[in-house]
Subunit: 228 residues, 2 copies
DNA sequence: CGGTATCTTGATTGGTATCAACTTAAGTGG
DNA sequence: CCACTTAAGTTGATACCAATCAAGATACCG
């Protein structure tokens, strides 16, 4: 079993504030797990027994709306923690997490995390800061959803994806999302997203390589996102 | 100066987890302030030097969108804390808070709160729980904004307002919001909100007493909110 | 009492959802 | 290797919803 003390991923999140001693304990109680593309890490309504630390891969975190459509709330990647909130508020998860590609995640049992939270103020403060940050972003998303058009949101989403995942050898955004996934991020019907993507392509703002998207005119996307 | 130890409001939020000693210190450094209706407690972009504890009254917390419209993110009332997030993430506030009626608020300096956070795990944990809860609600709002129609959102908002503020002697929702405020909560143009309110009135789901709203058929609003 | 803000309604335009049909891509089993 | 199945992507036509502009009504305030 690989040791948390030696894990590089740890440096990327709040776990970096744990002491050597705490890390040793964590190594002893954590379990590793491989999650295949498309597989769920947890379901909406499930009671989580711990949190997940993403070692490799990306997953979409989503929530079902009352009308039966799926809304993707965030994309969680290498170095992120997943499930702290449900654990802290001690409620069933309100979200579902599904792997977008093959993943490696570590599972850390609830008791261990709660113990660390109660004994290590630096750790707690770090989690608190993360959460404050997430909340701020959530506010921004609310404003965008409430006041921007689908076209603006699509442009913005493409830019965010580019910044978060960068580009691969073919110059396409280095994460494969289906058209439906994209629609579920911006909160629209799949056909609408497709139509707008198609518009962007005609205007040479983006192009397709296979199904993947390559951004040609970042500047123009910026303008569209801001409403021109 | 009134004493935090004896303040009833304290029981309503995380401050209840502070020790007697900590409360005495807080009494000595806090300041009280009256905020008139329409006045701002703080502005977007302002660097807060502490947090606010709402003793009396209600304020709207909002954010300007890039297209120049105002989105109300939440309504903060008696017993709530305000400004913890900016303080924790140590950034300028991303939000603006404006009084909806005359308010009494206490201001607690940053240093005092940070000291309590670093020394009292119960307090920190309580703040953390609050924030996890807020984040969960934010997720719900995102889904609603992304996927519900304006009509659904209006119905939902009316129900939430009713639950949060109750009714007064005239059986109207016990908080006065302008039509514009309502529109800014549901994220639509003022005229659209007015039109839909007018529809609801015609269908005898609500009625107006002056400008205030009285809910006649809660059941019907529930149905509309869920998409029928 | 005039001026201003808020509220209200109508007409028009544009954006988005929905339904339906078709294409392409990716398996799967004979 | 081909025929079949299924999922994903694409496009057009239509109808509905909501934003915007314009104009009038009502309440509020100095």
């Amino acid at each position: 079993m690989s040791k948390c003390e030696q894990c590089i991923i740890r440096q990327l999140n709040s776990i970096k504030h744990l002491s050597r001693e705490e890390l040793v304990k964590m190594t002893n109680c954590k379990t590793s797990r491989v999650v295949k593309k498309g597989e769920a890490i947890f379901e909406e309504g499930e009671r989580l027994k711990g949190i997940f630390c993403i070692k490799e891969g990306v997953c979409k975190v989503s929530k079902m709306s009352e009308n039966g459509r799926n809304q993707i709330i965030s994309l969680v990647t290498r170095g992120d923690l997943l499930g702290e909130r449900s654990l802290i508020s001690d409620e069933a998860s309100n979200l579902k997490a599904v792997a977008l590609n093959d993943m490696q995640v570590c599972f850390i049992p609830k008791e261990e995390i709660l113990k660390d939270l109660s004994k290590n103020p630096n750790f707690t403060m770090s989690v608190l800061k993360d959460m404050a940050q997430t909340l701020k972003q959530a506010d921004n998303v609310i404003v965008d959803m409430a006041q921007k058009t689908v076209k603006q949101r699509l442009a913005e989403t493409l830019l965010k994806l580019l910044d978060k995942f960068g580009t691969n050898a073919e110059n396409t955004i280095d994460i494969h999302l289906s058209r439906e996934d994209i629609a579920n991020i911006i909160g629209t019907a799949t056909e609408s997203a497709i139509r707008l993507l198609s518009d962007f392509k005609k205007k040479k703002i983006i192009e397709f390589k296979g199904k993947d998207i390559s951004i040609l005119d970042r500047n123009e996307l910026d303008k569209i996102a801001q409403g021109f």
